[in-house]
């Protein structure tokens, strides 16, 4: 090492000060503001075609993630309302919800009456159609039917106030249906499975992807359920909402971080104690781990504004990987005959660079989650390596009173050629090749993003019960309508409406939910008033004829006319609508201003023919069919293919480089671990019937880095220490990633099993194919 003792000392103090500064900054600046993200979608690539779509999808996702629909069921109908009420009250009192709706009141009818002056331009589809066709006879007939038959009983306004039922018609059409639920008394009720069910809707307060929010919501639901059971012992509560999934995923991930982290740490401690039988390496290693973890979390906090819970799950593997540098350092100090410790700094830097490079390849995929994991691991490893190189020599000055354990010698003597008689290889190698080919042929790819997320079956069952009971099937696919002005958004929603009605008539969808017809464009309202002026309110028009026929006095007829005239130029505008109680059922679909544009969402109920829906909808100007699941799956598939090619290219380039630097035989021996380990890993996945996705492929890039690492260290070190170092490094990596293989999150599991198998195979091959210690090779320096 060319550095002078003085330079080395000042470098040490600088490093020590940096470490202290890192810990202080972590405690004071990062921890108080640390935001743990639990939204799995945040990990996935955005498939938005532009900024507007991206913002719109985000805003809608944020709003709809807050909504939960509960059904409360009892066998005794008399206990249904009290049980539902007990549940709703508990939710309301918990403070975790912004809004809890249970009993149905008269707010909609009251609002429709209060806002009559701005509602004269709203017409039901039927009445507007009749007016457009000039079918005034039908309009008259409808009015008389309503006056004489029970049909009139459904109207919120009296016949004197609204003789033609125009306002009543528009009002009835704008309230969304209640599916299979019916109003009984003041609650919505469904009778099914020998039970009675009522509906409670709630909207969560706070960020639906924060763990604090989850805690509040989960405990509110639990205490609500307890209260409902206090009223009716058999009360059953089922819920459906994105936040329930988020909460379940987050609590599972937290449990995994704790379990994996603890097991990993215990394994590392045991390994160090067994190999070194000294306290010093253990303390040093733990401090290194602490520094690496703090730095990794801080880096993600500053780079992404939050740390994803799955990054932390994955981050537990940092324990197993970053410990390598400490292990290398202490293994090198073990005595082994007359073999003196050599300077391992170049090897550490080389090893760290290749592994960090492996993680940085994860950055090629534009998947935010993977980028975070890559940054987390790269920073953690770099800090761990720097700690070993810069801090250890300054503190650890004493001699190391231990030698290389005897078993390492036997292990190091292991050679491929000596394992079996020469002739046997002619059987083993083809057999192994055969199994590998068989496994590779059994490989299949599955890029469906839904297979990357596995919600708890209990939650899925609850969701299905709620959907089944209420008879509505809105899913994650929706239609986005954008335009430069709110008026234009509304006009586009209006143009979309007949398209969706036709799809419903074809059976492609059951129905749809849109801000229209609750809110309508001024253009449409103006046109409606023109039609009304022409045929209804003209002297001797439909209004006069109907009112005369029913026997109304000229005074009351005049009152209707003047009411209509005084409402001239008064329109229902988005601003007025947003504050009206009448907008409540669909308010969340009106996204409002996004940058310079405006947007709204239309939900599809029972979308059975996605392709024809997309085709019919996408041709409309300013309308986009959004299917994030399909789009993300498509992107994952694309990147899996790109990743596979990249893997092949990297492997080829690597072999080419090694062929240039080393003699042929040595090059092949060095490349063999990675080159053979990867097909073996893939074959194992095939034999396990594990469908391959992008995450498996990216893990193989990591395996490639580690495999080359092992081969190089064994080649360059050519000592028992090197064998021990690689063995320890492999063991800790295997434990860490093997644990991830038990994760409930499918993509973490994919990475876990791929790296675990890959590391095991490459290590075995690297040890078997390593050069003899005595073998002459080009020295590095």
């Amino acid at each position: 090492m060319p550095a002078s003792p003085g330079a080395r000392t000042s470098r040490f103090w600088l490093a020590l000060a940096s470490a202290a500064a890192l810990l202080a900054a972590f405690g004071a600046l990062v921890v108080p503001h640390l935001r743990i993200e639990t939204n799995l979608l945040a990990l996935l690539p955005s498939t938005a075609e532009n900024r507007l779509q991206l913002d719109a999808v985000k805003r809608f996702a944020d709003r709809s993630s807050r909504e939960i629909v509960f059904v409360v069921g009892t066998a005794d109908r008399d206990l249904l309302r009290p049980a539902g009420l007990a549940f709703a009250i508990a939710l309301g009192e918990s403070g975790a919800f912004e809004r809890v709706e249970f009993s149905v009141d008269d707010r909609y009818v009251t609002a429709a009456r209060n806002e009559r002056a701005v509602r004269t331009g709203l017409l039901s589809t039927r009445q507007r159609g009749l007016l457009e066709r000039g079918d005034t006879a039908a309009l008259e007939r409808d009015a008389l039917r309503a006056a004489y038959t029970p049909l009139g009983f459904t109207r919120p306004l009296s016949i004197a106030e609204d003789p033609l039922g125009l306002e009543s018609g528009a009002f009835a059409e704008e309230l969304p249906g209640t599916g299979r639920a019916r109003l009984e008394g003041d609650i919505l009720v469904v009778h099914a499975d020998g039970r009675h069910w009522t509906v409670v809707r709630a909207s969560v307060k706070g960020d639906p992807y924060r763990t604090e929010t989850h805690g509040g919501v989960t405990s509110a639901i639990a205490s609500g359920t307890t209260n409902a059971r206090g009223v009716a012992a058999d009360a059953q509560v089922d819920g459906s909402g994105v936040i329930l999934h988020a909460a379940a995923a987050a609590s599972k991930a937290q449990a995994e971080v704790a379990t994996f982290g603890t097991i990993d740490l215990i394994a590392v401690v045991l390994l160090i104690v067994l190999v070194f039988r000294l306290l010093r390496p253990l303390l040093f290693t733990l401090v290194t781990l602490g520094l690496a973890t703090c730095a990794a979390i801080a880096a993600c906090h500053y780079a992404f504004g939050q740390v994803h819970i799955l990054t932390l799950t994955f981050g537990t593997s940092l324990i197993g990987v970053s410990v390598d540098y400490s292990l290398h350092y202490f293994v090198n100090k073990l005595r082994d005959g007359d073999h003196a410790p050599h300077d391992i700094v170049p090897a550490l830097i080389l090893g760290c660079t290749t592994t960090v490079a492996g993680y940085l390849t994860l950055l090629i995929a534009p998947i935010p989650g993977l980028r975070q994991i890559a940054l987390f691991s790269a920073v953690g490893l770099a800090v761990a390596c720097a700690t070993v190189i810069l801090l250890y020599p300054g503190i650890d000055r004493r001699e190391f009173p231990r030698s290389v354990p005897a078993w390492v010698g036997r292990f190091a003597a292991l050679r491929v050629e000596s394992l079996l008689p020469h002739a046997a290889w002619w059987l083993v190698v083809p057999a192994l090749l055969g199994v590998t080919v068989w496994g590779l042929l059994g490989l299949e790819a599955r890029d469906d993003v839904r297979s990357l997320q596995r919600p708890p079956p209990e939650l899925v069952a609850q969701e299905q019960r709620v959907r089944g009971l209420l008879g509505v099937g809105f899913d994650t696919r929706f239609v986005l309508v954008t335009a430069p002005t709110p008026e234009l958004v509304l006009q586009r929603l209006e143009a979309l409406d007949p398209v969706l009605r036709k799809l419903a008539a074809d059976g492609s969808i059951n129905g749809h939910l849109s801000p229209f017809p609750s809110l309508q464009s001024v253009e449409r309202q103006r046109r409606a008033r023109e039609l009304l002026e022409r045929d209804v309110y003209a002297p001797g028009g439909v209004l006069d004829r109907v009112m005369t026929r029913l026997g109304f006095t000229p005074d009351s007829m005049a009152a209707r006319h003047s009411e209509f005239q005084s409402a001239r130029d008064r329109w229902l505008t988005p601003d007025a609508w947003l504050v009206s109680p009448l907008s409540a059922p669909v308010r969340h679909l009106w996204l409002g201003a996004l940058g310079g544009d405006h947007a709204a969402v239309v939900l599809l109920d029972g979308n059975r023919a996605a392709d024809s829906v997309r085709a019919a909808v996408d041709v409309q100007p300013g309308v986009q069919y959004v299917d994030q699941v399909a789009d993300i799956s498509h992107v994952l598939g694309e990147y899996r293919r790109i990743g596979s090619w990249l893997l092949l290219v990297v492997l080829t380039v690597m072999v080419a480089c090694l062929l240039v630097f080393y003699r042929n035989a040595i090059a092949i021996r060095t490349a063999l671990p990675a080159a053979a380990g990867i097909p073996l890993t893939l074959a194992t996945l095939g034999l396990m019937h594990e469908p391959v996705n992008l995450f498996h492929v990216l893990s193989l890039l990591l395996v490639l880095g580690l495999g080359v690492d092992y081969a190089i260290i064994l080649r360059e070190g050519r000592s028992r220490q090197a064998v021990l170092a690689v063995f320890l490094s492999m063991t800790t990596t295997l434990i860490s990633f093997g644990l991830l293989g038990f994760s409930s999150v499918p993509f973490v599991r994919s990475i876990g099993i791929t790296v675990a198998f890959g590391v095991a195979f490459t290590f075995l091959i690297a040890v078997a194919a390593k050069p003899r210690f005595g073998e002459a090779a080009k020295p590095r320096h």
């Binding site: 007939r141 409808d142 039917r145 038959t149 009139g152 106030e161 029913l550 026997g551």
Partner: protein, 216 residues
């Protein structure tokens, strides 16, 4: 509880008989037995009837009108299918009310269909109409407070909605009858009111004829 009510009701019956024409004070009808005791013969024939046929005459009093709107026709109640309300005067119009919604057919042949799932208020109208004929306590008690009294000739039952939402549709419904429901007075939330007189009521334990069933 039910015994107490029965006793109370029988006392009311006596009181009603003694006071002759003055309307008896109403008392709450809290359960099935109380309703059966109150309505006597009507509830007995209702319990066995699969179908009820009869004639109706409706007078609708609208705000702003001095003269009520009068209509008449026939009705058919089928326990398992729904209600057919066939207006014949002043025009021919068939109104079918089932669990799934409303269908209205005109002499012109035009059919108007409204699904109950699209309009929550419809199911309320539908239940009130069912109640007029079937006096189904369980179905009624969730929506309405019931108060009743025996009267000189028969009984009187008043239904008041339990919720504000319902009150916007029906403020109050009053039924009077003896062996069958005779008169229904509906006070609508809008302020209009209707009086429906039922006559020639016929209870049928066999249910609908095949011809009638086709109409639902």
């Amino acid at each position: 509880m039910s015994i107490a009510r029965a006793v109370l009701l029988s006392l009311l019956v006596c009181a009603g008989a003694a006071q002759a024409e003055t309307p008896a004070p109403l008392s709450p009808v809290g359960d099935v037995e109380a309703l059966a005791t109150l309505t006597g013969a009507a509830s007995r024939s209702l319990r066995t009837a699969r179908a009820i046929r009869g004639e109706f005459a409706q007078r609708r009093h609208l705000a702003g009108l001095t003269k009520p709107l009068e209509s008449s026709g026939s009705f058919l109640f089928a326990r398992d299918a729904g209600i057919e309300w066939h207006t014949q005067v002043p025009f021919d119009s068939q109104f079918l009310l089932t669990d799934s919604g409303i269908t209205q057919r005109d002499e012109g042949g035009e059919t108007l269909r409204i699904d109950a799932s699209d309009q929550p208020a419809l199911s309320v109208v539908s239940r009130v109409f069912f109640a007029l004929f079937s006096l189904d306590f369980d179905a009624l008690s969730h929506d309405f407070e019931m108060r009743g009294a025996r009267e000189a000739r028969g009984w009187r039952l008043e239904l008041t909605p339990r919720s504000d939402a319902l009150r916007k549709v029906f403020r109050k419904a009053a039924l009077t009858g003896d062996a069958a429901v005779q008169r229904v007075v509906l006070e609508e939330g809008s302020g209009d009111s209707s009086t429906i007189d039922l006559s020639a009521v016929e209870f049928d334990a066999r249910g609908l004829t095949p011809d009638e069933r086709r109409r639902f």
